[in-house]
Amino acid sequence: MSDPVLEVENLAKHFDIHHLQQRVFAFSGVGFRLFPGQFLLLRGSNGVGKSTLLRTLYRSYVPKGGHIWFDAAEGRIDLATAADVDVAALRRRDIGFVTQFLIARPRVAAEELVAEPLRLAGWPKAQALDEAHRWLDEFGVKRELWRAYPTTFSGGEQQKINLARALVLPQRLLLLDEPTASLDAGARRALIRRLGALKLQGVAMIGVFHHKEDIAELIDMELTLTVKEMADVAE
């Protein structure tokens, strides 16, 4: 078997709130291995730290202990201690993060938002736009909206554009934070189709999903977080 895409060892996270002189514990001792094409579902009750774990893996949150070994083209790199610039480079190239919230920018058209990751990856403009159109269509965004600015779209439409943008490029690792929330049934099916296709292409995924049944056939592993402690990995 090939090397794991991600190998998490003894990962810990807490938050220090200085003005309250308070330390808020999130989790500790988290460890798992994720191979190409595997799907890990994070489980646990509300507030147990599923999103926190995803953000810690993405380095939006600073890990407080342990290792996040990522199998980059240049060799294994520990995301827990890697330089910011490298984390940024890996985010552009290898690691995707899908949330329910779109960061819309004024005066950037939907199609441009979706084509942007492709442009950053060096695609020619026309090709990138074609590809963007394909995915906007797949997620059910109406053609007349492609050139419009998503700042004024409804939550559901924004989310579709967000997903198209996040999934347009097959990355090596995809972090999914409740991507199906606020999606209509058609878009949800398109999302699951796309995730299935990406999985077949070898994209490893870690997800938090509200409705487990949506993605039941994708799941390889489950990790249940409990308050104060993490649980075992069930294969």
Partner: protein, 273 residues
């Protein structure tokens, strides 16, 4: 007794890196005093190609002094400054005035908060851009016109007004002229000193949008100084937090805003959100 301790921050310059990331700008050990005031204390900065580094801090934190040093307007008491541009291998602070001026004109663009600092208010807007091109040795009038028009167009300045003097323009338009002048020679480094402070919020958004677009389309390396966290958040890939002449924290923009580590950064982020 404190349950938690304030983290001390010092960049680890030898941290392992992917081999393809190369810094455009490296500043090391910058210290400077104004009389008894320690304006900068042992500051290290690294800016990588194509990224936007945001520098935040209150007035007097040393952020603008640092930016002036990046623009070679001022020399620190101590420190080393290198830019990855052809022919510049030595510490740039050691260069003579003429060499510094030429380097600044060719490779560094700057947009000031106050357009009076960056523009000749009574010359035409296109002339302000042309001055930059003239310094670089452009002597064809037709080329001055076309290259000036291109730069203004890239800054989303209405080119039919390209010959109006900045003094007749609105604040937002004046910033666009500054920007056009700054990018006319495709600099290795674009410095932005509070570029949208003092503009109406709607105008501010449009100017930031132009900057974003330029960054996206041309991958210009930028250093953005602002006390406005909203601006930094919209623009920056990485953020450096300064206080009293020191860097107290540095990190990816989302990390700084979502999980600030230093007490000062926490108070700054919470005060703004």
């Amino acid at each position: 007794m404190s349950l938690i301790e304030a983290p001390s921050f010092k960049r680890d310059l030898d941290a392992p890196k992917l081999n393809r990331t190369q810094p455009i700008l490296t500043m090391h050990g910058i210290s400077h005093r104004f009389g008894d005031v320690r304006a900068l204390q042992d500051v290290d900065v690294t800016v990588y190609a194509g990224e936007v580094l945001g520098i935040v801090g209150e007035s007097g934190s040393g952020k603008s002094t640092l930016l002036r040093m990046m623009n070679l307007e001022e020399k620190p008491d101590q420190g080393d400054y290198r830019l990855a541009i052809p022919g510049a291998t030595a510490n740039l602070f050691a260069l003579d005035r003429f060499a510094r001026r030429m380097l600044r004109a060719r490779h560094i663009g700057i947009v000031y908060q106050n357009p009076h600092l960056g523009l000749l208010m009574r010359n035409s807007s296109s002339g302000n851009v042309a001055e930059r091109l003239l310094i670089s040795g452009e002597r064809r009038f037709s080329a001055l016109r076309s290259r000036g028009r291109q730069a203004l167009d890239a800054s989303e300045f209405p080119t039919e007004r390209m010959d109006a003097p900045p003094i007749e323009l609105s604040g937002g338009m004046q910033q666009r002229v500054q920007l056009a002048k700054a990018i006319a020679l495709e600099p290795a480094l674009l410095l932005l000193d509070e570029p949208t402070t003092g503009l109406d919020v709607s105008v501010q958004a449009l100017v930031l949008d132009t900057l974003k677009r330029l960054q996206r389309e041309r991958a210009i390396t930028m250093v953005l100084v602002s006390h406005d966290l909203g601006v930094i958040r919209t623009m920056a890939d990485r953020v450096m937090v300064m206080r009293k002449g020191r860097v107290v924290e540095e990190g990816l923009a989302d990390q700084i805003f979502q999980d600030p580590q230093h007490p000062y950064t926490q108070s700054l982020v919470h005060a703004k959100l």
